[in-house]
């Protein structure tokens, strides 16, 4: 999403038709049922110590998490950046609320099942130097969590709330969206590192 609306601040056209006031929850409540279903299934997989299900949650969740991150950051973002501003805003208004549900669900499913899988397979207790791969995976997850909680999610929610106003503040939106430029590279490197670490662990 690097350059999605980074230049809104300087272009700032009159209020587009898509910028109507929207009220209600910032999270799409209907989607919570799906999230609840995923969490119940995840708890069942852990309680049943069901390796196939743990593998499924970790591989599918992690693949989607990494794939969505890279795809949005480096494919969707630049495409949206070339749309006109009302089209970008219309897209983001519909896209961001869904991401508020999808990404945390993928993260919790991936990390919880991954931890459980690592314990079952003995990956957490391997000696050094192999253990460095485990430590590296913790560092990567930590860095991505900090970026998400400190930079990306506050910007996401602020932009979303601003877009729901009758007269969104283009200057603020532009400044917040520049954060995606600064962090897209770091997130990309971390996700590629995740792929390298996880494929290494899977082939021990």
């Amino acid at each position: 999403m690097a350059d999605v609306v980074a230049d809104i601040a300087v272009q700032a056209p009159p209020a587009p038709s898509v910028a109507g006031t929207k009220s209600g929850s910032i999270v799409p409540l209907r989607g919570l049922w799906i999230v609840g279903g995923v969490l119940v299934a995840l708890i069942g997989a852990i309680a049943g110590n069901w390796q196939w299900a743990l593998d499924f949650f970790h591989v599918a969740g992690g693949g989607l998490w990494t794939g969505i991150d890279l795809f949005v950051g480096f494919v969707i973002g630049p495409i949206i950046g070339h749309l006109d501003i009302p089209a970008r805003m219309a897209f983001m208004r519909r896209f961001m609320p869904k991401m508020l549900l999808i990404m945390p669900t993928l993260v919790v499913a991936t990390l919880t099942s991954g931890w459980q899988l690592a314990r079952r397979l003995g990956n957490l207790t391997v000696p050094y130097p192999q253990h460095w791969w485990i430590v590296a995976s913790f560092i990567v997850v930590g860095v991505m969590a900090i970026i998400a909680y400190v930079v990306l999610e506050p910007a996401n929610i602020s932009v979303l709330l601003e877009l729901r106003k009758p007269e969104p503040n283009g200057l603020l939106i532009g400044r917040l969206m520049r954060r995606f430029i600064y962090t897209a590279g770091i997130t990309g490197v971390m996700q590629v590192a995740t792929l390298i670490i996880m494929t290494k662990l899977a082939t021990w």
Binding site: I85, I134, V150, N169
Partner: protein, 138 residues
Amino acid sequence: MSAPAGDAGDTTRSPIVALAVGAIVTAFVSVGYIAAYMPRNAPLAVPVALLVASGVMSLGAIVLLTRLRRFAWHLFFNVARWVLALTFVFAAMAEYVFAYDDTRGTPLVILTVVLILAAVNIPVVLGFSVARHERVAG
């Protein structure tokens, strides 16, 4: 699309964000320190010191937050409650896994404290970072 000229919200550096983020990072590092020693038991002095530092920074962030005037508290709580729900789910899943795996004693206490610190500070960071941009009359 219109905006008051020159108003880009509050995007300055904030000690509240710095303290809350510092608290999250030190809490995460304390867990990482323990995990790096596995399968051996890690010496607990460093993780405990990190958790104390994290607790102090959390307290500092909350004190500074409560001193704010002309702040969009409604927006803060609107965002923070959802984030709190999210972190609660994360924390509950983590506790469930640790309990399921028979993690007991000091490691469980440290992990629980880390989860509590994260559950407090993450909603503070997100709620404050969003609400600080809102212009409040008065």
